[in-house]
């Protein structure tokens, strides 16, 4: 039955994909017939080529970065001086640069570090064929979907002339349409003045930092575009790490006297920034007025969501070795940190943790978002389960997520239903921050690398570490940092763009999720993605599947704001409800499965309001 339906629908796919970015008719959902079911795949470059093993419902990925044309390799600029900054980047973005309905990729590059140092001083110089000078890289997705539903994933390096050929040492990136022109802009974090790039819509970007006033000069890592005041313009939260001056760096040593990277406690934390979008291309620094400037830690992860379901966006900040903050929006331009009482500042013992990446998702399908964050080794990754009343509970150990994470230092992460069974799974990108003795003894020039991990949701009650069966790419050991999540090949399951410190990017194509029914949704408010909107997908049976449209979270990276909802054993959806930022709630009942649909605010049927 399934294959028959797919066969009928797949032929329309190529013709309608471009509609993803277009306007929609009033009163109904703009549907794109399904594009999944690439059963005939196989040759290099063809995405979604399943194997027999996939049909067992396993989560499985294949690294297709190289064959798809992504040859980005991060360079961290290390010269043996153990500069703290060299191990913290990079991030990456998956975003639809050109509005053609598929995700393009932006990579943050490093540079040589240290006064007077050149590439000749590098411990691990760039590959001989690496493009020089080193710059950030922009790749356009030229995804081709054929009439039979098979597809070829191809990226083209379009850095030259794009305006994104930036030559400073970068850290991370946030994506969002700050000027409401329908084109996704980029905010690039770094040590020193961050940069805001306006998307010109023709494949080029203009650095508008100076005019915008958003070029914070501290060490930024993760940032988020979020409309905190409900005026329809995306404001900007910038998570800053520590007060760091490379030229003042003092050496740090292990207990045995061996040189090692310093811990973040060696430096004072740097305060975060909140910029209010003035709606005219400029931002105002409202950090102090918002009440945010007085309490801060070394921020690495930033996530925005309406945690207390009052229609106003809140901000969660993951700090490295200091209590995390939950900035609850007081709806008057100010915020209050409620993390401690909410139970998301510390772990279950009351201890601080070295938090890195973070995401929120409804893993137990009870209608509220739960928090997951990655931590340094010897600390568990932490799952804070939302009790539905604004209070959270650390259930890391009880759900099986604690112990398997202890040996690893996690960075990029996200809640994603990788196998489309209706339950959110987890992926953690790992790489340590201090010398791993076993690797150093083996003569490894950069002994921080660790394998990544995947955890499959058992149905809301716990997780299984399924890393061992997730594909050969999970046998790699690399210094993972950023991870951007999105359906790169538009086949109905979420792929992962992993960026490694001082290593190659990996494009983890999901080989499993599209085997189950799914609904792909783009939520649009005004002319842009409605970041922060929640969507609940109802089926004949089973709990409502709540997901969020978001580009932030993870670590230093920007995600696909679209939503893929795996339907599990269901064949259809009975209703799609969207809770828009600002409080409007609308329903759609005619959303097809196995395809992409754009839902625009104001075109659905007004609902009674509230989540189920």
């Amino acid at each position: 039955m399934l294959s028959t339906v797919r066969g009928l629908r797949s032929g329309l796919a190529a013709a309608v994909l471009p509609l993803l970015a277009g306007a929609v008719a009033c009163g109904s959902a703009e549907s794109v017939p399904p594009v999944s079911g690439a059963d005939g795949g196989g040759p290099a470059g063809d995405a979604a080529a399943p194997s027999a093993a996939d049909s067992a419902g396993r989560i499985r990925f294949t690294d297709r970065a190289r064959e798809a044309g992504i040859d980005f390799e991060h360079f961290n600029g290390m010269s043996g001086e153990f500069y703290f900054s060299e191990i913290m980047g990079p991030g990456a973005a998956l975003f639809d640069m050109d509005g053609d309905g598929d995700l393009d990729a932006y990579f943050i590059q490093g540079q040589m570090l240290g006064p007077g140092r050149t590439l000749d001083d590098a411990l691990t110089p760039p590959a001989p064929d690496a493009p020089l000078p080193l710059t950030d890289r922009l790749y356009r997705n030229d995804l081709e979907v054929r009439a039979d539903g098979s597809r070829t994933l191809r990226f083209t390096d379009v850095t030259a002339g794009s305006g994104l050929d930036v030559r400073s040492y970068g850290m991370g990136v946030a994506a969002g349409d700050f000027d409401n022109d329908g084109r996704v802009d980029l905010y690039r974090t770094r040590i020193g003045a961050n940069q805001l790039f306006r998307n010109n819509g023709d494949g080029t970007f203009t650095d508008v930092t100076e005019r915008s006033g958003a070029g914070d000069g501290r060490w930024g890592v993760s940032a988020s575009f979020v409309d905190v005041d409900g005026d329809g313009w995306l404001d900007l939260y910038v998570g800053n790490y520590v007060d760091y001056d490379l030229e003042d760096e003092s050496p740090c040593f292990a207990v045995t006297g061996e040189r090692d990277y310093c811990a973040p406690k060696s430096y004072p934390a740097a305060p975060d920034r909140l910029y209010r979008n003035n709606g005219d291309g400029t931002f105002a620094d409202v950090t102090a007025a918002a009440g945010i400037g007085g309490r801060y830690g070394p921020a690495l992860g930033v996530l925005t969501a309406d945690f207390n379901a009052d229609g106003w966006m809140d901000v969660y900040v993951a700090n490295d070795g200091e209590p995390n903050q939950l900035w609850v929006n007081r709806r008057d331009g100010t915020f209050e940190d409620r993390a401690l009482l909410a139970g998301v500042a510390l772990d279950f013992t009351g201890g601080v943790e070295a938090s890195m990446g973070v995401d929120a998702g409804d893993f137990d399908a009870d209608g509220d978002d739960d928090l997951f964050m990655t931590h340094v080794s010897a600390e568990t990754n932490t799952l804070y389960v939302n009790a539905g009343d604004g209070f959270f509970e650390d259930r890391s150990a009880m759900t099986g997520l604690g112990a398997p994470s202890l040996p690893y230092t996690g960075f990029g992460t996200a809640w994603v239903d990788f196998d489309n069974d209706g339950w959110l799974d987890l992926l953690a990108v790992n790489g340590h921050v201090q010398v791993i003795e076993g690797l150093a003894q083996a003569g490894d020039p950069f002994p921080l690398h660790q394998p990544n991990q995947v955890f499959r949701n058992r149905g809301g009650g716990g997780f299984d570490d399924v890393t061992g069966e997730a594909g050969p790419v999970f046998e790699l050991s690399e210094v993972g940092r950023g991870a951007a999540f999105g359906d790169v090949d538009n086949d109905g399951d979420v792929d992962v763009l992993v960026v490694n410190n001082n290593g190659p990017a990996r494009l983890l194509i999901n080989d499993s999720g599209h085997r189950k029914r799914w609904v792909g949704l783009r939520l649009v408010g005004g002319r842009r993605d409605a970041l922060g909107a929640r969507v609940g997908v109802s089926r004949e049976s089973g709990p409502v599947l709540w997901r969020r449209a978001r580009a932030d979270g993870s670590y230093a990276s920007a995600n696909d704001p679209r939503v893929v909802v795996g339907l599990g054993t269901a064949d259809a959806v009975t209703r799609v409800r969207v809770e828009w930022p600002g409080g409007r709630v609308e329903d759609w009942t005619d959303v097809p499965v196995d395809g992409w649909t754009t839902l625009t605010e104001g075109t659905g049927r007004p609902a009674g309001g509230g989540s189920e």
Partner: protein, 569 residues
């Protein structure tokens, strides 16, 4: 803490590992072990199979670490023909050294051999359990803690760690038998009640958690580690007030929080003090410092300095610890040595300056502070110390620049603002002083230090253009409502005298004199009596602060002889 991990051991391709490769690699080593000279029977009964043991590459380690490790390795070789107990002790010692050096991967076979050689011995099994715990292998850790318990059922720390590890593994249902044994061993133990509380939280028995954790605080009111889980339990029960109360008092979380409950673990304490390296001693010194044990901090820093005599920062740390431990004389040579090693060590200049000024050697102190501000012009503290020392020694004009600089760097340094004012007063520039005080009060309305100073200046300045008796009285009236001090009383008397209200002035001044006498400060009373006599004569005061007033002598209390005699300059 640097964490050295076993799990990511490289095998084959340098960038490619098998999942769980560490375990696999260990299995291979075990199979091959008996081909190596470290093991094998030497006749008689069959000896256990032993794992090959090798030291890690110690090239980058401190010489003291290399020496210790190599000696321990040599002891293993020397014990080759010894009894199983002797061999186990040698392997165990090596394993513990490696563990202390955070070479966890290298430590594992050594400790495993010790266990194999003496399987009934509690100690090595217990250490191996801790090694697995530190590596993050909680399942193995729990297994070995249980084995350790089998070998010594009355060992309390082993039971506590077993429970703690099972809880971290998410197995609260498995802990009750062990908790029961722990209860039997130590009835009424705060540690046991704490574990019971944590177990109750894990199983969402919040009422039970409140009962247990409240009992912990009854048994040990300083058990800050109990407050956080107790707060979470109260919160779950809907008692947010109680939750907030305990959150305000929470502290000391993290793994091993039981240690703050007085859990004595002598075996692990031994490991913590085993390694000798400058960094290891420094770490122990900082731990001692954190709990206010300055003599121990000084002792550990001293040992670190002995191992790294050319480390200027260590000598500076030792000096600070000596001083805090009440031994400033010992601090002085360490600071001087630190500066011989590194003249750019700004903090050593600064600390030396503070020591010298306490010893009454102001000229030398000024030299140190001058260097400190030259090297770090952004240090508000150094600027302030320099300014105070200059003013104290009569170089008042010179003090104004660093006072102003300190305020520029940190507008919150009120002592610099006040110091500048007093410098201006001392120079007779009362108009400028008044303007500065007005600005300070605009910045911090009602600030008693500035309000009192301004009232005095307005009441008693010899410069008629500065005086304003009515305003002085208003300020003094506001002050006496809040601050019942001799200083304020004397200020009120000055204001009243300036207004011609000499009877009132005499009453306030008499009050100040009486309070000073009652407080055992006849010196102060005597100084204030001068003004009392003046008011009796119907004369207003024209000296807001006497030249010998403490306001004109900023800085620490001088302890003559603190540092011994000053050298010839």
């Amino acid at each position: 803490m640097r964490v050295r991990l076993l799990r990511a051991i490289a095998t084959g391709h340098p960038n490619l590992i098998g999942h769980g490769a560490g375990r696999f690699a260990l299995g291979v080593l075990m199979a091959a072990a008996c081909t190596l000279p470290a093991c094998g029977p030497r006749g008689g009964t069959r000896a256990p199979d032993l794992l090959p043991v090798a030291l890690p590459d110690l090239d980058g380690a401190h010489a003291s670490v290399r020496t210790q490790m190599q000696a321990a390795q040599a002891a293993v070789a020397a014990a080759r023909d010894g009894s199983p107990a002797e061999r186990a002790a040698a392997y165990g010692r090596l394993g513990l050294l490696l563990m202390a050096g955070e070479y966890l991967e290298a430590a594992e076979p050594s400790l495993a051999n010790a266990v194999r050689l003496l399987p009934d011995e509690f100690r090595w099994t217990y250490y191996l359990a801790h090694l697995y715990r530190q590596q993050g292998d909680l399942a193995q850790a729990a297994d070995y803690f249980e084995r350790a318990h089998d070998r010594r059922p009355d060992d309390f720390p082993a039971l506590v760690w077993l429970v703690s590890t099972l809880l971290r593994l998410g197995q609260p249902e498995a802990v009750e038998p062990w908790l029961a044994q722990a209860r039997a061993l130590r009835p009424g133990s705060a540690v046991v009640r704490f574990q019971e509380g944590r177990t109750a939280v894990a199983t969402r028995d919040y009422a039970g958690a409140v009962e247990h954790l409240t009992a912990v605080l009854r048994l040990d009111p300083n058990a800050s580690v109990a407050h956080y889980p107790l707060a979470m339990a109260y919160r779950a029960l809907g008692d947010l007030e109680a939750a907030g109360y305990h959150l305000d008092r929470a502290g000391g979380g993290g793994e091993g929080g039981e240690g703050s409950l007085g859990l004595s673990d002598p075996l692990m304490a031994d490991v913590a003090t085993l390694l000798r390296s400058p960094q290891a001693h420094r770490g122990r010194a900082l731990e001692a410092d954190a709990v206010g044990d300055w003599p121990e901090a000084a002792r550990q820093f001293q040992m670190a300095v002995e191992l790294a005599p050319d480390d200027a920062v260590l000598r500076l740390s030792l000096a600070i610890a000596h001083d805090r431990a009440g031994n400033p004389r010992a601090a002085l040579p360490e600071l001087e040595a630190a500066l011989r090693l590194d003249t750019e060590l700004t903090q050593a200049h600064y600390v030396l300056g503070t020591l010298l000024e306490r010893g009454g050697r102001d000229d030398e102190a000024i030299d140190r502070f001058t260097v400190a501000v030259a090297q770090d012009p952004q240090s508000a503290e150094a600027q302030l110390r320099l300014a105070n020392a200059l003013r104290r020694t009569g170089r008042v004009e010179d003090s104004l620049v660093p006072y102003r600089r300190a305020q520029e760097i940190d507008a919150g340094v009120e002592e610099a603002r006040f110091g500048e004012v007093m410098g201006l007063v001392r120079l007779g520039r009362h108009g400028e002083a008044r303007a500065r005080l007005e600005a300070a009060l605009r910045r911090r309305a009602g600030h008693p230090l500035f309000a009192t100073a301004l009232a005095r200046l307005l009441a008693a300045s010899p410069d008629a253009r500065v005086r304003d008796g009515r305003r002085a009285f208003q300020l003094a009236e506001a002050l006496v409502a809040e601050h019942k001090t001799t200083d304020v009383a004397e200020t009120m008397a000055m204001a009243l005298a300036e207004l011609g209200e000499f009877r009132g002035a005499m009453e306030w001044q008499q009050l100040a004199v009486d309070v000073a006498n009652d407080a055992g400060r006849p010196d102060l009373a005597a100084r204030m009596s001068d003004n009392l006599a003046r008011y009796r004569r119907g004369e207003p005061c024209r000296t807001p602060w006497r030249d010998d007033a403490p306001e004109h002598r900023p800085g620490p209390v001088v302890e003559p002889g603190l540092l011994g005699p000053a050298p010839e300059r």
